[in-house]
Symmetry: D3
Subunit: 154 residues, 6 copies
């Protein structure tokens, strides 16, 4: 890995090599036990999705309790709670991706509400969806705006 | 449209109704003539993509000159140049969407470089791609990281 | 670009080069001002989609008036109104693409009606959807036929 | 084609070459006439989908009778009835693919019921959908589980 | 099925009902035996794809001879050879769908060449790809044009 | 949740309710600490992917060490190592999904090799890809077979 790359990634320890695969590497967000992931996950889930995320998790406990756990521990505890990217960017990025995919409208709705909750302005949400007209086509953008309207109208 | 919605969208004029479809409504970013779109588009194309966007545009002039124009005038002039969302968020959102789609790696490469150009940190780019492991799966994230490495290694 | 290519594209001016990017090139469908795009777009929107396209545009004016403008000016004014491909082919191509994508059923419905409006026979619409069983799979074709039935039954 | 490949594909006749394209090659599942495909297809359709597949086929006879025939003769007669892969694997694979695609929920529902019918345990169906969280993302898995719940609750 | 629907589908026999599922219904393109499908399929494969389709079929005979048969008998014999939609429309529709999907560039290349072979003008092929910028986004259109250039430059 | 559902899911404890979210529920595959997930994940990664999975993980340690960890701990430790579905079914399901998605060929290659490693016959792998011609279209199946040939030819 070239030096210029490391210069631009100051938060990657110089000592990071493949041989550290099994050792106890101290890096950002090192999870040492389940309850840390669980605590962090529940907090991020609540801060981002309010009650809706907890509702999704609860609704899964009948059919797939382990997926419910993974949402909390992995999706939110390991990923969404990470400090390397601010919450507003995370939610706008999620809205962009789900708009482009076009087949995850329930999750899109959750994250449009999540974007508002973490401080995005309604206009910023609309802007990122509009931008998807360029990258994923007009149908994707129109259908996502119809989901956004449901949230923004509340 | 409920009043709470308008309260949260202060930049929508109260006078915006369907009947204003044909009238000369003065709103943000009103385009009055081609050369404004062209000027704004060329500037945004350069500021975001450096020379690579111009390269894509130039390469299309043999087979589809009008698409080359649309990229400049519409994609960048009408959409990417809009002030309602900051450039860094726009590029991270684009990276997220293209990562999720998984079938637009040339464009993903352009916009990873674009994200760096508009001020995103390499780690922020990596973070948004990692986040797509949750929303679009691990293959999407892994394949996008391989594109990112090409850019970050330069 | 080889000469055989130009021979097959008689409508590409011999003088088309990259250096003409900023000059006033007179080619097909050159847009000189907004109202030409707007006029052409509104006419194409009406001729192809009847009232439904205008309905979609109107419904977007509350949340994203600029997207409403782009549909008229860009999607229909710059693209759908172009003379290089007949209207029937345009609508059948749109039906094929939306059937394959499988996540844009509202737009598919609009364009199935549009295909009828521009002169396609119902059987031709059914044929293009059937063909998508080969290229996108049977679920895509079945789901699109269910949309087609709604339109054809009216 | 290397010999090691043929060693692992004992059911490919050594005499299989391109020149046999038009000759009367006797290989597994050689269809000699329509009614064999039809008979095999109807039986597989019933064994796998119970009445729901026949319902889909019947519902298509008004708008696309030939697609109805293709489902029976090709999808089930030529493909699903093949002996080279057991029925349980076929249904679990279909569930995985439709979960990943995320835009074919009616068919996903049919094949979740189909998986139960051919002997898969409910937990196996849930497991394959959970696994798609890794390969296609959490939204795909969550949305598929909501379809599964409809079937498993009956 | 309402009468207005039947009025617009004159080629659907009045006597078409579900109970005709097993009987010997004489309708368009009734296939009575394998060699008819095979003959029709080989002819359509050749007329549309020239040698490239035969090349694809031949290349599959080592690993999946039955898929090779299905391409000839089903994809071309049952579907592409049907008279209800002209060949030019079929090829333009295929190009549109494969452009939108963005993950089938080898097949897109075959069908761009196919479109030329059945009489489409190069400009018509470019137009349908351009149109996909509206329905599937600019990346899809740009990437498809790069495939088209390979074919048109020959 | 109806009683018939519980009857078919004998491995769901009767006591599973939402209120058990934070308690220490003892259910299948309860992970109590990181090193259990790590150990299980490394073993499953090796048993399924041989060295290729470790190679992917190692290649990610420069740019995204945490994703490398998540592949081992979550994808393989939490998901692929689960006992509720046999390894052969897991690999065939993965091949089906990646074939249908059509944009993850590197991962498809890994899992075709993985399917062989866990005991699938080459013909079973070919069969599941063939089946995707029905559910995702012929291009998806053809392109996946070309990946399979690379693996099966070794």
């Amino acid at each position: 890995m070239k030096s210029t790359y490391r210069e631009r990634l100051p938060d990657f320890p110089e000592s990071m090599t493949v041989s550290t695969l099994h050792s106890d590497v101290k890096r950002n967000e090192k999870v040492t036990a389940d309850e840390d992931r669980r605590t962090r996950g529940l907090r991020a889930l609540s801060e981002i999705t309010g009650d809706s995320g907890a509702g999704v998790v609860a609704s899964l406990r009948d059919i797939a309790p382990d997926l419910a756990d993974w949402i909390i521990d992995f999706s939110y505890g390991d990923v969404m709670a990470r400090p390397g990217l601010d919450r507003r960017s995370r939610e706008l990025a999620t809205i962009a991706a789900l708009t482009a995919l076009g087949n995850a409208q329930p999750q899109l709705k959750v994250h449009i509400a999540g974007a508002l909750r973490v401080g995005c302005k309604p206009q910023e949400i609309v802007e990122v969806i509009l931008q998807m007209a360029v990258f994923a086509g007009f149908p994707a953008a129109i259908n996502a705006l119809n989901v956004a309207r449901e949230v923004l109208d509340q």
